[in-house]
């Protein structure tokens, strides 16, 4: 393969790509080269400019400056259609398949040749591509009935449908089970063998190291560093990790005393469960709790679980399998249609949100901007929005600004919220700081049982570490945490036990430890399989 790469011009060269959005320089003179038969990993924190760069390559965004060369020829990728014509296919992070259509219909949607659907030709093309990828895809299955792993394979087939030479994979592993990731790795190997150039976006270091032939690291819109194939082959994993962490965080990393901890954050960690004594008090109990679905998202059905003092219980599952319903029914934001909720043995099934909050039952929502804060209000006031009208912050219905601001200033300091002042509008804060505002609100005033819903989703590595530290210290301080997350690595890192939610039901609980990842993965897949036909 190596010999082939060395002949002629590289397949795609992005040179000096610059793109500014109002207030942000998303890409600043980025150079990236894609070669045939190679996986080029694009690594970086959220907001580093990965999405902008691939958006430019896919024809969705026009760069302000810079040139794109394809096989040495300068080319303008003026539209997504043009990108397809040039052989650049994209697999987006979220499914773009139309659920009601069959696999074949989905694949043939973009086919503009001829008025009538030429099914036999479509089936031939599918069989050809499936054989190339080494996967088995039934053309007649409805897209809605596919598991996420299969959906992704169909997406890859769709990207290759019109003869792509460059394949963009945008965080392809974020929704997959460990088994699904292994499958994807196999597919990538076959695609490489056929001479595809693959650009693989991820923020997980171990994936980049195991799948990439070359790694480019973006940081604040700039190309912070590149690790070539020679380096990837010759140097040890530990050296490479240290190198990448240094590039990702630059000088900041040197100031960080424990780089090792940061590395861990970037990496998949096999869980080490703390043992929670079996006789520890049950602080939260759900007995057969059901709540109907709302809109497209599933509800929960007959969920029973026990959370003990000092415990961190994870809830794994693919997004949309009832996570929101579970979190909201515990928080009191939506009613339970059946079953019972007990807090320290006392029923709270019908207790209102505000009362549960006072009893120490807290909820750190995943919808930070939509429901976690009110962006137009100052940071300080946002910290007390679950106590509107209560003393000492309000007296006779009138807000006590001095009390609110004073207490807010303390909380902002305690939880290290980076804000110019407590009177700054919350909407102007970064995502990480908004999460800290939520944590300050939910983890102050004696928290006891806290539901964390996707607590680190979309956060940078440092804030992620802070959040996980908070969850641990809550449990160590005698509280209990229920961590709902779609990031299995996260659950393996911090949880004592991991429950699996599938199609709105808890299908099993796995103690964290050796082999937990695989068992959780099996439950995630197995739990849904039986119901998929229904």
């Amino acid at each position: 393969m190596n010999a082939r790469n060395d002949t002629g011009a590289p397949l795609v060269e992005l040179l000096g790509i610059t793109k500014a959005f109002p207030g942000v320089l998303a890409n600043d003179g980025v150079d990236v080269t894609l070669r045939r038969g190679e996986v080029h990993c694009l690594l970086g924190e959220n907001g580093a400019g990965k999405s902008t760069l691939i958006g430019i390559l896919a024809g969705l965004i026009r760069p302000d400056a810079g040139t794109i060369r394809i096989e040495g020829v300068e080319t303008a990728i003026s539209s997504p259609r043009r990108a397809l014509e040039l052989g650049i296919g994209t697999v987006h992070q979220h499914s773009t398949l139309i659920p009601a259509l069959s696999v074949l219909e989905n694949l043939m949607l973009g086919d503009s040749r001829g008025v009538r659907l030429d099914r036999p030709r479509g089936e031939r093309r599918l069989a050809e591509l499936a054989a190339q990828l080494g996967v088995d895809i039934d053309p007649a299955t409805r897209a809605a009935d596919l598991s996420l792993g299969y959906q992704q394979q169909v997406e890859i087939v769709k990207a290759l449908w019109r003869g792509s030479r460059v394949l963009i994979l945008d965080e392809p592993t974020s929704m997959l089970t460990p088994q699904g990731v292994a499958e994807l790795a196999k597919v990538l190997v076959r695609l490489k063998a056929q001479g595809q150039a693959i650009i693989f976006i991820t923020h997980k270091l171990h994936e980049a190291l195991s799948l990439g032939d070359e790694i480019s690291i973006l940081r604040q819109g700039r190309l912070a560093g590149t690790i070539g194939r020679e380096a990837l082959r010759s140097r040890s994993q530990e050296e490479l990790r240290a190198e990448i962490v240094r590039i990702m965080f630059g000088d900041e990393a040197r100031a960080v005393a424990d780089v090792a901890e940061l590395q861990e954050e970037l990496d998949s960690v096999e869980g080490t469960a703390r043992t929670v004594a079996a006789e520890a008090e049950v602080v939260l109990e759900l007995r057969g709790v059901s709540s109907p679905r709302e809109g497209a998202e599933l509800g929960v059905e007959e969920v029973s679980l026990e959370l003990r003092e000092g415990e961190i219980l994870g809830v794994a599952g693919v997004d949309g399998n009832g996570q929101r319903a579970l979190a909201e029914v515990i928080a009191g934001q939506r009613p339970a249609s059946a079953g019972e909720l007990l807090l320290y043995g006392a029923p709270v099934t019908r207790t209102k949100v505000a009362r549960r909050q006072k009893l120490g039952l807290r909820y750190v929502t995943d919808d930070r901007l939509g429901e976690g804060i009110v962006g137009a209000l100052p940071v300080g006031l946002n910290l007390f929005l679950k106590r509107v009208g209560e003393r000492p912050y309000w007296r006779h219905g009138r807000i006590q600004r001095a009390v609110v601001d004073g207490r807010a200033t303390e909380l902002v300091r305690e939880f290290d919220v980076r804000t110019p002042s407590v009177t700054t509008r919350a909407a102007t804060l970064s995502g990480g700081n908004i999460q800290k505002v939520l944590l300050a609100r939910e983890l102050s005033f004696e928290p006891k049982v806290v539901v964390f819903h996707k607590p680190t989703y979309g956060l940078d590595v440092r804030t992620t570490a802070t959040v996980r530290e908070q969850i641990r210290s809550l449990a160590e301080g005698g509280g209990a945490a229920l961590v709902i997350s779609t990031d299995l690595d996260e659950l393996l890192e911090i949880c004592d036990r991991i429950a699996v939610l599938s199609r709105g039901r808890l299908v099993g609980v796995v103690p964290n430890g050796q082999g937990a990842a695989e068992r959780v993965g099996e439950l995630m897949v197995g739990g849904g399989a039986g119901l998929e036909a229904a």
Binding site: E297, D319, K352, L385, R398, R418, T424, R462, E469, S473
Partner: protein, 384 residues
């Protein structure tokens, strides 16, 4: 939070959020510009229209000034302000919650009909101050009552209040008409109208302005205080920015929606009482001043701020008082004044477009309204 994390974070160079900005002088200037510039541009465009119609714009605007402000005409303008301010206050309350009470015309006319129906008898039977208080409360109550159906439907079933309030408005307008022809009809005249009040609202000493204007100003102050300083006002603002957030914060949405509707209807009802008791003195069928329709742009120009709406209302009152005469002098239809209002709306949008591309009219709206407007344009991703 562990101390370890704190020290680690402090060791890092301080990185402030990029666009962090508090309400400063720049923002205030921005607000003033965005509010006043549309008005100035509308007057300019109106001038061009006047030229095209063969009138002299400066003479026309001068005429408005003469007849709207000078020689005591400002008192007539001030009298007109009373119902405008009360309706503006009522609309501000409900719009803050991102709820559209568009039934103000029905609420207003029903209030007006009841006041004109019972007023003539009441002012002669009990002390005047008591009669006036009772009539104000009556009008407020009926205005509030007329919002109950939309409010309960919205609170319980999430029914779109734009449709329900409009429907109730049509019913209210026709019901008012029936009342005037039926039980409230003045038997001394064949015309379909009520008896004329023999005693009206007293004037503020030294002026011709009735005390209804004071009631209006008091209402504006109370509304502003409640919206900006109290827990209830904050709840309303949270509801307006996101009902999901309101639910998350444990706010009783149903109750809040109903109370906000009642308050809005009540204030619109008060507007009717002020107008009938202070200025009109009676009501006839077919009379529908539709004050709310002309007031809405100013409520948004004032960014749903109950105090900021006062200068806009004062401006419009002068334009409409002086404009009625100026239009007659220039041999123009008084509808030309509505053209000016329309131009203000148009330029609001243009200014907003220039200031913030694609977010048409966005900064005039609460975050919730803004989202509702954009919603059809946005793909609602599951994860985001």
């Amino acid at each position: 939070m562990s101390t370890e994390t704190v020290t680690r974070e402090e060791a890092l160079p301080q990185r402030q959020p990029r666009r962090a900005r508090t309400v400063g002088a720049g923002r205030l200037l921005d607000l003033v510009l965005r509010s006043v510039v549309p008005v100035v541009l509308a007057l300019g465009a109106g001038a061009i229209l006047l030229l095209a119609l063969g009138r002299h714009p400066l003479a026309f605007y001068g005429d408005i000034w003469t007849n709207g402000v000078q020689n005591g005409a400002w008192q007539d303008s001030a009298i007109r302000m009373a119902p405008f301010l009360l309706i503006a206050a009522g609309l501000t309350v409900i719009f803050r919650a991102n709820i559209w009470n568009l039934g103000y015309n029905g609420q207003f006319l029903l209030g007006a009909a009841l006041v004109s129906g019972y007023g003539p008898r009441l002012v002669n039977e009990i002390p005047l101050w008591l009669a006036m208080a009772v009539l104000f409360l009556l009008a407020g109550a009926v205005g509030a009552l007329w919002t109950v159906v939309p409010a309960v439907l919205k609170a319980r079933y999430g029914t779109n209040e734009i449709i329900t309030t409009l429907m109730m408005s049509f019913i209210g307008i026709d019901l008012a008409s029936l009342l005037i022809k039926g039980p409230f009809h003045d038997s001394t005249t064949p015309l379909p109208q009520t008896a004329v009040l023999t005693k009206m609202l007293p004037s503020i000493p030294g002026t011709r302005i009735h005390v209804g204007l004071l009631v209006a100003f008091a209402a504006v102050l109370v509304v502003h205080y409640v919206l900006t300083r109290t827990a209830w006002g904050l709840r309303l603002q949270i509801l307006g920015s996101s009902p999901r957030a309101a639910r998350h914060f444990g706010i009783d949405l149903s109750r809040l929606i109903v109370v906000a509707f009642l308050a809005s209807g009540f204030l619109v009802g008060l507007a009717a009482a002020a107008d009938i008791l202070g200025l009109q003195g009676y009501i006839r069928t077919g009379w529908n001043p539709a004050y709310g329709d002309t007031i809405i742009p100013f409520v948004f120009l004032a960014r749903l701020n109950a105090l900021a709406v006062v200068p806009f209302i004062a401006f419009f009152s002068v334009v409409s008082t002086g404009g009625d005469i100026a239009a007659a002098d220039a041999n123009l239809s008084t509808n030309f004044l509505l053209v000016l209002v329309g131009l203000i709306l148009l330029f609001m949008t243009v200014i907003e477009y220039l200031g913030r591309r694609r977010d048409l009219g966005a900064s005039y709206l609460t975050p919730g309204l803004r989202q509702a407007l954009r919603a059809p344009l946005l793909r609602r991703g599951g994860a985001s």
